[in-house]
């Protein structure tokens, strides 16, 4: 057993850290307040291939499709500086570009994957609806076949990247056999007539990341645009989300890391009662607990990534990683605000933003409760 990162992975961490500190750090607070992703950062991130991380070079990506640990490191390092960016690139790569690479036909890869991997187009994965959140089976957006086209009607909400996406993966109901519903994932070009962007949400955290409502009215999609087969949408959708969870876990590791670093610095500098507050046991215990929680998350996250790269069934470990990492990030950012006292409540201190960003992660991409359900079902069925 070897826990060390390869030299390549170390270089990826070093460069992504330097890049994030130089390009994103100084603008993160402003982006959060204005709910805007900075265009200069966007341009550079595309050049850096952060929009094609897990896609092979021949499809315009960075060639890390067989190195999910590196993908985690990248997401973690960007998330350490600004979770709005790590969710933007993380979602784009893991639940839009990657599924196209895994399930797409060669024609679909040429038409849709290459522009995504190059960052020429942004992608969104849309499953959630007003009546279909944790219960994804409740999806009501539907499609019927009319000649050579599927006609789609309905709406999606809370779609990450929704308002800025040009290529969408859409989970749609395509049939019902008795009580069994059939779903299909469609690849949709945002320029299709009948497609429109509704409300852009104003959120608690990851505020610069775009979260939007999307509306489809008699939107006609070519017959060949199904991803992985008609009626296969539910199975494919769950597989897509399994992979995405690892990256959401990685983002939370980054948030937790940021919270600890800020707290250590503050605890060593802030003097009260004649000594740095880090000398008080009350603070020490918090720092220790934060360290343990984040390190556990990191190990679980890398384990899930390693299992994925070694073609092992990583579903349960991925859920464990997402659950642990999001709750660890919440705990660590909560403690970080507490350690900073009243300063921690102020916008001028980044821990205030980390705290809001961490709360998001306990809910999106499968709530903590859903993760516990998934983990428990697997444990009770298969044993441990």
């Amino acid at each position: 057993m070897d826990f060390s990162l390869t030299k390549k992975q170390q270089m990826i961490r070093k460069i992504t850290r330097e890049f994030s500190e130089e390009y994103i750090a100084h603008i993160a607070e402003e982006s959060d307040q204005n709910s805007q992703l900075d265009p200069t950062v966007m341009k550079e991130m595309k050049r850096m291939k952060y929009f094609g991380t897990c896609i092979p070079e021949e499809y315009g990506g960075a060639g890390l499709h067989d190195d999910t640990i590196s993908f985690c490191i990248i997401t973690e390092e960007i998330g350490r500086i600004d979770a709005s960016w790590s969710i933007t690139t993380g979602v784009h790569c893991s639940v839009v570009a990657y599924p196209l690479y895994i399930f797409g036909t060669e024609e679909q890869k040429q038409e849709f994957l290459i522009p995504l991997a190059k960052g020429d187009k942004i992608g969104a994965f849309c499953i959630t609806e007003a009546n279909a959140g944790s219960d994804a089976g409740g999806v009501e957006t539907n499609a019927y076949l009319d000649g050579d086209e599927w006609v789609i009607n309905g709406s999606k909400i809370f779609a990450t990247n929704g308002g800025i996406a040009e290529t969408l993966l859409l989970v749609v109901k395509t049939g019902e056999k008795g009580r069994r519903k059939e779903f299909t994932v469609f690849i949709v070009d945002a320029n299709t007539p009948g497609y429109s962007v509704g409300v852009r949400e104003d959120k608690l955290g990851v505020r610069a990341s775009n979260t939007s409502e999307l509306v489809f009215q008699d939107m006609r999609v070519p017959k060949e645009n199904d991803l992985g087969g008609i009626g296969k949408g539910f199975r494919i959708g769950l597989q897509i989300l399994d992979y995405g969870r690892i990256l959401m876990a990685a983002q939370c590791v980054g948030l937790g890391q940021a919270a600890i670093e800020a707290s250590i610095k503050y605890a060593n500098e802030r003097v009260q009662f004649g000594q740095p507050i880090g000398k008080f046991q009350g603070i020490q215990w918090k720092i220790a607990d934060m360290g343990v929680a984040v390190e556990c998350s990191r190990l679980l996250t890398y384990q899930a990534a390693w299992m994925c790269d070694n073609k092992l069934d990583y579903g349960m470990i991925g859920s464990m990683a997402k659950l642990k990492a999001s709750e660890a990030a919440m705990q660590a950012t909560h403690d970080a605000v507490q350690i900073h006292g009243a300063y921690g409540l102020m916008k001028a201190y980044a821990v205030e933003r980390y705290f809001r960003d961490a709360k998001m992660a306990e809910i999106y991409e499968g709530t903590s409760e859903i993760q516990r359900m998934v983990i428990a079902q697997k444990l009770l069925r298969r044993g441990y």
Partner: protein, 269 residues
């Protein structure tokens, strides 16, 4: 054409501590990085390559772990990388270092067996020693023209070189020459790119750093390492702080007036 870029691995922070007993730098716990101005050198090489095509060869002398900075150079887009590493190179001053680099460049040119034109780009100086000597000494050893402190560079036609030299900021000199040439660049010349993720992946998958030892370079012991060094380090120390600093405020006229008064009062003026 071939473009050699000389790279140095240096301690990561500029305010390294000095061990008062041994008068040497304390390097423990300090991460090593690529000398910042060497990144400007690579960036210039990359922009020349993008404009007219070239083979970029990164070269460094140092301990085996200096491979890391060469891998970073390869990630940025250098085509090949060579590390001159041998116990016999240890303890080298700038003269012995530049001699080893010259031998390396000559060997690579000879082995490539082509009459391609070439140039060498160095960062003006390294943040650890700050001497700015290796570039000029390397040019002398290679017996090619040199232009130091370059802030603007252009290659015209086949081999015409036009460079803006800014030794002092108020005195900019434009120099023209022909290839081959060695230039040492200032950080003002460009903004180095970060290596892309694809650049890193390909550097580790498709490229490798070639190690060359003293024997491979047919180096004579008298000219390399400690024995080949002419510099004797008399003493290294941190300058002591001799007094408090005074910060003047107000308009420029007011500050100048106060400054003159203070200088008179202190009998400096």
């Amino acid at each position: 054409m071939k473009i050699f870029t000389c790279i140095k691995q240096v301690p990561g922070i500029s305010d390294v501590k000095i061990d008062p007993k041994t008068n040497t730098l304390i390097r423990e716990g300090i991460p090593s990085i690529m000398n910042p101005m060497d990144k400007n050198a690579i960036e210039l090489a990359l922009s020349i390559k993008e404009e007219r095509g070239a083979e970029i060869i990164a070269i460094s002398m140092g301990p085996p772990q200096a491979e890391n900075v060469l891998l970073e150079a390869l990630s940025m887009g250098a085509d090949k990388a060579y590390l001159l590493t041998d116990r016999a190179f240890a303890g080298a001053d700038t003269l012995a270092t530049s001699h080893a680099l010259a031998l390396g460049i000559k060997k690579i040119l000879k082995d490539s067996d082509s009459n391609e034109k070439y140039m060498v780009i160095c960062g003006t100086q390294a943040i650890d020693g700050d001497t700015a000597q290796v570039g000029p000494e390397l040019a002398e050893d290679l017996d090619i023209p040199q232009i130091t402190y370059v802030q603007k560079f252009e290659l015209k036609g086949d081999d015409k070189v036009i460079a803006e030299r800014a030794f002092r900021s108020e005195e900019i000199v434009v120099i023209e020459t022909k290839l081959p040439v060695l230039i040492s660049v200032l950080k003002e010349i460009n903004t180095p790119r970060f290596p892309s993720m694809l650049g890193i992946v390909n550097a580790y998958k498709k490229k490798k750093v070639v190690f060359l030892d003293a024997e491979a370079l047919k180096a004579e012991k008298a000219y390399i390492g400690l024995t080949g060094s002419k510099t004797e380090v008399f003493k290294i120390f941190i300058p002591e702080r001799k007094g408090e600093h005074v910060k003047l405020t107000g308009t420029i006229e007011e500050m100048v007036k106060t400054l003159c008064q203070n200088l008179k009062e202190d009998k400096i003026f």
